[in-house]
């Protein structure tokens, strides 16, 4: 006799059936149910008593299990009568279990109070290993970002923000506060000069594009790049695993020297038995809360007498009392607006004995503070799993995303209102709009530059276990990113050609970079019990990836009317196409020997080939070795207050492949005019290097994982030392070879394997549960990381490469950090006083070392307080320090625009003014250390009876803020030391210039914006 289900459970069962019928399309089996008994109960957090959803609850040794609903409740049916053990486990919590005796047709009640786990050695990771592997086995560290938990605490709109500060050693530099723009991600410092310093990203085992996406403009205008990574909705992510360097990434081969990020999306769980729906709505405002530009002009008598060059001074007349002019351009109406965010989402997850599913739909809409800045994202996801046979499981993951972003001109664009506000001279003249040096908002806001993407990420994973000792996994999938970047200049109606002569009659341009990235990844592991309590796991694997970039460009000039703005409507049209392909094939073998499940030794070798290698170079080999020792499992281990302790060490190598076709010396087609006839021609395109090979990162990491005080305190400590050999360096091709950009004046470049780069540092993660009471819980986490980076040697020939924007102030120099700052000063006497020649200071162009251009220390501190089960307060402080930043706009303002308070203060020391105006860079390269209150949120879970009125099992309302406060620890003069000058991306998706990966300048970028959100989350 079946136990009648309560009404709600019947409703759930109905929903489950509906979803089941969809999922059954992918499953070849049908439901099987033999109920003889049931277990029901609730899982709550031991600290604060809040219900915990998504906990896996199952009967040990049986296939019966389920997942808790958001109100913590669960029900497992069909359990054979007798004594059974019920176990509850969830990522980040210590597993707990309870024995219960079931009589036939009985329903037992089992409640669990689970505690956050400071150390989860049995937690399974899938990144950097041939298959799912417990953390206790690993000799390297794998950081797990619990996205599901974080997105519950506070709205996090992008994957970039989800990564920022969540794990030690991951440096995320947001380049601009403009919504929809990309960030720079580095793990354990910059390990390459010219190959990607960004980690490779996988989503459910399928490699995905995650870099910056180029915008398009016909005049090289500076527009921040958008992000391919942020196409993924954080609300679809269960967790992210980050492996940080070659020691852990060896099995990923010739692309993984900068680390690997694996995104694991949410999935249903087999045995869940019911469907759970989640609805989410968020709304908020975005504003420029930090300081806005204020400009000054102290009108001299000479200014007042010159109405042509200083009309606003002339307008003052001779009155000596009103000589200082002050402007606040961005405070004018029409300059900035209060932006807003609207997001909503709906998802369902569930499953039965042999299938599971997760479906979601999300919309994210953000309007930035500039009137022509927005970001839209609509995405859907369908993750389905079916157990085709007892030993064969198929997982299908389908993600579809559409994004559309409009970006304003910013940074160094002459027509950007940010730049024109900073560079305003209150004395005038203002050619277009009061208080703006060039175009003001009235015209600049018409700038229409949009990047739209349509993205499919299809992945499948087949797990086959023909024998109990032999596990096979085959991942195959493709990431299709069809991008459309557009810029449109309407027909000039001012008669003054504000966008230039080329665009005055209307100009429309599209570039359509379509990138397809295929992944095939096989791994097989055979396990074997050996004598003397030894175990063996031998794995082999093959990975193949193929990246194709097919980019089309079409432009049209001279339009009939603004509404007829197709390229085909233009009087003169042009088209271009780029096709670039890169393929990689790698194979590996790994042997892992364990002893009594506490000591593990692993050795592996990977061999890679890549189509981008030079013709004189074929294969590259990457070895690895690691050891893990759970010493706390030893009988002799008795350290007071220490519950678990794992010692670990790893050494390994991984690579960075060069960009496609950089090895080949080549010419490219072009055209020229002979008379009025356009004819074909060829021009030098790529200098090439037949000896090109992948650079090799070699890393040692040592550390320990520990927990103590009954699981209330956890620590992960790692020391790493990484050396990059055969470093890929984008070096200028000698201009005298002719390999330079025709017409553009840019020097051509080529890749060479030159030097050695060293990175070392410490990483520490501390987790603590200081208070764990029924009605009050306090959880805290501190991450700390350091990085010391150095160019050990360039290799033959080079001693240094100098670069910088607005001033040469950065170098690649042996013995110093990559892209470090070097300053110039004025000539000084023996006492350090400036030497005056004819009353003037002279700049000594000698460059002096100052410090690194990126932070060398990072720390994040999160605290979560749970009060009376329903109230949760979360805070996140972010610290970055040890680096410097060139305040480029101040440098230019002081020296060229002469519009800062420092040079207009009537009481200023004339020598100080002269120093600022001299062009010496010393005063404008400043320590950029800061602390930010990155996130603060307050969430209230409504009482059950209130939620029930909305037919919900769980309802949460939340108020949250992001970028709420900043403390600049060394008085950095710019608005936000976090911004990064125009993140240039070339037409092939690679950095636009040899040094653009390292070029750090604060120049008229939009600072990080404050965001205040209210949100509601309902679970049915």
């Amino acid at each position: 006799m079946k136990i009648p289900l309560p009404r709600r459970d019947r409703r759930l069962a109905t929903r489950s059936l509906l979803c089941s019928s969809i999922a059954l399309l992918f499953a070849s089996t049908s439901l099987v149910a033999q109920p003889t008994g049931a277990v029901r109960g609730t899982v709550t957090d031991a600290g604060g008593g809040a219900p915990v959803g998504q906990v896996q609850v199952y009967i040990v040794g049986m296939r019966h299990g389920t997942i808790t609903q958001e109100n913590g409740r669960f029900l497992i049916t069909g359990i054979p009568a007798g004594q059974v053990t019920v176990r509850a486990q969830k990522l980040g919590y210590a597993p707990t279990q309870s024995a219960v005796t079931l009589a036939g047709n009985d329903t037992a009640n089992v409640d669990f109070r689970i505690s956050s786990a400071a150390l989860a050695l049995d937690e399974v990771v899938v990144t950097g290993t041939p298959g799912a592997t417990e953390k206790r086995v690993l000799g390297n560290t794998v950081s797990t970002v619990k996205a599901d938990e974080l997105t519950k605490n506070t709205p996090i709109p992008t994957v970039t923000e989800l990564l920022q500060g969540r794990a030690s050693g991951i440096n995320v530099t947001s380049n601009s506060g403009s919504v929809g723009t990309s960030a720079t991600i580095r793990i354990r410092g910059a390990s390459s000069l010219s190959a990607s310093t960004q980690p490779v990203v996988y989503i459910d085992g399928i490699r995905m594009q995650a870099g910056a996406q180029r915008s398009f403009d016909n005049s090289g205008a500076t527009v921040q790049a958008t992000s391919a990574l942020d196409a993924i909705d954080p609300n679809d992510i269960e967790s992210m695993e980050v492996i940080k360097g070659p020691a852990a990434a060896t099995l990923y081969g010739a692309d993984a020297a900068s680390g690997v990020i694996q995104i694991i999306t949410k999935k249903g769980r087999m045995g869940q038995q019911s469907a759970e729906w989640n609805a989410r709505a968020e709304y908020g405002g975005i504003d420029w809360a930090l300081a806005r530009p204020t400009t000054y002009w102290n009108c001299t008598d000479a200014n007042i007498a010159n109405a042509t060059l200083f009309p606003n001074c002339a307008a003052l007349g001779a009155s000596p009392s009103n000589r200082l002019l002050i402007d606040n351009p961005l405070d004018q109406p029409g300059a900035l607006r209060r932006g807003n965010v609207t997001t909503y989402g709906l998802s369902t997850r569930g499953g039965a004995d042999r299938y599971s599913y997760f479906f979601s739909f999300d919309h994210d809409g953000e309007n930035g503070v500039l009137y022509n800045n927005f970001f839209r994202r609509d995405n859907g996801r369908a993750n389905m799993q079916a157990s085709l046979r007892d030993n064969l499981t198929l997982q299908m993951n389908v993600g579809y995303v559409r994004t559309n972003s409009r970006q304003p001109l910013s940074d160094n664009s002459s027509n950007s209102i940010i730049r024109n506000a900073y560079r305003d001279r209150p004395a005038g003249p203002w050619p277009w709009q009061a208080e703006y040096r060039g175009l003001g908002p009235a015209i600049a806001n018409q700038y229409d530059n949009e990047v739209a993407t349509e993205r499919y990420i299809l992945g499948s994973s087949l797990n086959f276990q023909p024998f109990s000792w032999f596990q096979n996994r085959l991942n195959a999938g493709v990431d299709v990113n069809d991008q459309r970047s557009m810029v449109f200049y309407s027909i000039d109606t001012t008669g003054r050609q504000p966008w230039g002569a080329t665009d005055a009659n209307g100009w429309i341009g599209y570039i359509l970079p379509n990138t397809h990235l295929w992944t095939v990844d096989y791994a097989g592991t055979a396990t074997n019990n050996l004598p003397r309590q030894l175990t063996s796991a031998f794995s082999v694997g093959v990975q193949y990836s193929n990246t194709q970039l097919d980019s089309w460009q079409a432009t049209g000039q001279t339009l009939v009317a603004n509404q007829l703005n197709l390229v085909g409507s233009a009087a003169t049209r042009d088209a271009d196409q780029i096709f670039i392909e890169q393929k990689s094939l790698g194979t590996y073998a790994q042997e892992q020997v364990g002893w009594r499940n506490r000591l593990f030794v692993t050795g592996a070798l990977r061999v890679d080939n890549n189509s981008a290698f030079g013709s004189n170079f074929k294969l590259v080999k990457y070895p690895k070795a690691s050891v893990s020792y759970v010493i706390s499992d030893e009988p002799f281990f008795h350290v007071p207050h220490v519950d678990q302790l794992k010692l670990r060490g790893a050494w390994g190598e991984a690579g960075n492949a060069p960009a496609p076709f950089t090895a080949v010396q080549a010419f490219a087609p072009t055209t020229t005019a002979i008379g009025d006839v356009q004819v074909n021609a060829l021009q030098p395109q790529a200098y090439g290097n037949p000896n090109l090979r992948a650079e090799t990162g070699s890393e040692v990491e040592l550390g320990f994982d520990a927990s103590g005080f009954g699981g209330r305190l956890g620590a992960e400590f790692t020391y790493y030392n990484k050396l990059t050999k055969y470093a890929l360096v984008t070096v200028p091709a000698p201009p005298s070879s002719g390999y330079v950009a025709a017409g553009g004046g840019a020097t051509g470049t080529y890749l060479a394997n030159l030097g050695k780069i060293a990175n070392d540092g410490l990483e520490l993660t501390l987790t603590a549960t200081p208070v764990q009471q029924r009605n009050f819980g306090w959880e805290s986490a501190l991450t700390l990381s350091t990085n010391h980076n150095k160019l050990v040697t360039f290799g033959t020939g080079f001693s240094e490469i100098r670069f910088g924007t607005f001033a040469i102030n950065q170098k690649f120099a042996q013995g110093f950090p990559l892209g470090a700052y070097w300053y110039t000063d004025v000539v000084r006497d023996g006492n350090g006083n400036p030497v005056l020649t004819g009353g003037k200071m002279t700049v000594d162009t000698t460059l002096h070392y100052l410090g690194p251009s990126t932070p060398t220390r990072e720390m994040s501190l999160t605290n979560a307080f749970t009060i009376f089960k329903n109230l949760r307060l979360y805070s996140y402080f972010d610290y970055k320090g040890g680096g410097y930043l060139f305040d480029g706009i101040k440098y230019v303002n002081d020296r060229l625009d002469l519009n800062t308070w420092a040079v207009n203060n009537p009481k200023a020391d004339p020598l100080t003014v002269q120093y600022l105006e001299s062009g010496a860079t010393r005063p404008d390269i400043v320590r950029s250390d800061f602390i930010k209150l990155r996130e603060l949120s307050l969430a209230y879970t409504l009482p059950q009876f209130v939620a029930a009125r909305a037919r919900a099992k769980n309802a949460t309302i939340q108020v949250s803020g992001r970028n709420l406060a900043i403390w600049k620890l060394h008085g950095y003069p710019g608005v936000d030391p976090e911004v990064e000058f125009f993140n240039a991306v070339g037409s092939n998706g690679q950095p636009a210039t040899p040094t653009s990966l390292f070029d750090r300048t604060d120049y008229c970028s939009i600072p990080m914006l404050r965001r205040i959100m209210v949100s509601m989350n309902l679970t049915f």
Partner: protein, 436 residues
């Protein structure tokens, strides 16, 4: 043991499949480029010839710009202060690529490489007009590099002097003349005449720069007065535009007529009478109309410089000026000067007028913005005729004094990438009291 056997088979299979598929699986293609190794195809001769022409066309209007801003032809109101320094005759490594050096080398190397590739592909160089034309353009590539820079390397070699570059240019022109001469008859005569004229003008110019006046006269005399060849530009696509168009139009104007070229009342040098503030919001610009050397020039009217304005890169008129300068104040020179003065609405020379000064004056008017002025001023200075570079206070008064540069220099990129020039130190060109 069974497990081990199975596993070994799997491992071997995996490895074998991986290795066997390695070759094909990694085959890629890039139809956007052609490897240099594939350029040995005779069918490409025509395209390679176009490449030599392209090498000059694509940069010539920029050469005009760079020649103008460092001399007395033009004011530069570019927003980039480093470019502003160039027009102040301050030339330093810190200016990076804002100067003409990469463009000069691109033109030189592309034209010369094209010619070299054609030479390998033609069966009979003598009489092959394709090779001759490419060689003539290659000669101009060297000539421009010599006239704009005081010293420069070739193909990552050591620095060579401008005179050495002139000699290489001359050798290319001579080769062009040698190869074209056999074809200067019959059906190919018309084309051969053009190529010979192109090469002879270049040879005369290089010879005069080297101080070899006799050869300059010989080469210049061989050129028909009506000969002219342009650096060609068309309205579309944008890449084939005359870049001066964008510099004098639109809201961010960059180029204005230098005060030393104003108030001449000469139809060859026309400009807007209403000055406007340039892109740097500092310099007042009177932007030029199409000068005489542009295809869009019309004598009675003022025509805006257009995107399709072609620029005289070699002509019979230029040959006459070169010959006159080499000959000195002969009756032929006086006749030329008076002819050109008439075009400019000036009175004929008087008996006491300095003929050669007037010759120089007429040439700067006739070839205003045509890329000749820098080479001319350097030659006048080097040969002791006089230093006619602008000096003293710069017309943009906030900038202070002019510096002392007479040529452009190699770039930091060349120093970074070419060990043969690693120790290069540019000459100091800053005026007193100037800080970068």
């Amino acid at each position: 043991m069974k497990a081990a056997r199975i596993l070994r088979r799997v491992a071997l299979t995996v490895g074998a499949v991986a290795l066997a598929s390695c070759h094909d699986a990694l085959t890629v293609n890039n139809p956007k480029v052609i490897p240099t190794s594939d350029l040995g195809d005779a069918n490409l001769i025509g395209t390679l010839l176009n490449s030599a022409v392209f090498a000059v066309n694509t940069n010539y209007s920029e050469f005009s710009w760079f020649s103008a801003i460092i001399t007395d032809e033009a004011l530069n109101a570019t927003n980039d202060y480093r470019s502003g320094e160039l027009s102040q005759r301050i030339v330093e490594l810190a200016q990076g690529n804002v100067g003409p050096y990469p463009l000069l080398q691109f033109t030189r190397a592309t034209a010369d490489t094209s010619a070299a590739l054609i030479r390998k592909l033609v069966k009979q160089p003598a009489g092959d007009l394709r090779l001759a034309r490419a060689l003539a353009y290659a000669g101009y590539g060297y000539l421009y590099l010599a006239e704009f820079t005081c010293t420069a390397p070739i193909n990552a070699g050591p620095l060579v002097t401008d005179d050495s570059l002139e000699k290489i240019a001359l050798s290319r022109f001579k080769e062009a003349i040698t190869d074209a001469t056999p074809a200067d008859a019959g059906s190919t005569k018309l084309v051969a005449d053009t190529i010979l004229a192109l090469a002879n003008v270049g040879a005369a110019r290089a010879s005069l720069n080297l101080g070899n006046k006799t050869d300059a006269i010989t080469y210049a005399s061989a050129v028909s007065a009506s000969f002219v060849i342009y650096a060609d530009y068309v309205a579309a696509p944008t890449a084939l535009n005359n870049t001066l168009w964008g510099r004098v139009n639109g809201q961010n104007k960059q180029l204005g007529v230098h005060p030393l070229m104003q108030n001449l009342h000469d139809p060859r040098v026309r400009y807007t009478t209403q000055a406007v503030l340039g892109h740097n919001q500092l310099t007042l610009l009177n932007t030029p109309y199409s000068p005489r050397s542009f295809s869009t020039y019309t004598a009675p009217d003022s025509q805006v410089i257009q995107s399709y304005s072609k620029i005289d890169m070699a002509s019979g008129l230029e040959a006459r000026f070169l010959r006159a300068e080499a000959e000195g104040p002969t009756p032929l020179t006086v006749a030329l000067v008076n002819e050109r003065r008439a075009v400019g609405g000036e009175q004929p020379l008087g008996a006491t007028d300095d003929v050669m000064a007037s010759l120089r004056e007429e040439k700067r008017r006739d070839f205003f913005l045509a890329g000749r002025r820098l080479g001319d001023l350097r030659r006048y200075k080097a040969q002791g005729i006089g230093d006619f570079f602008p000096s003293g206070p710069h017309p943009t008064s906030q900038w202070g004094l002019y510096g002392s540069a007479t040529c452009y220099i190699i770039t930091q990129d060349e120093i970074n990438s070419n060990l043969n020039v690693a120790n290069y130190v540019p000459p100091a060109t800053r005026p007193p009291g100037y800080s970068p």
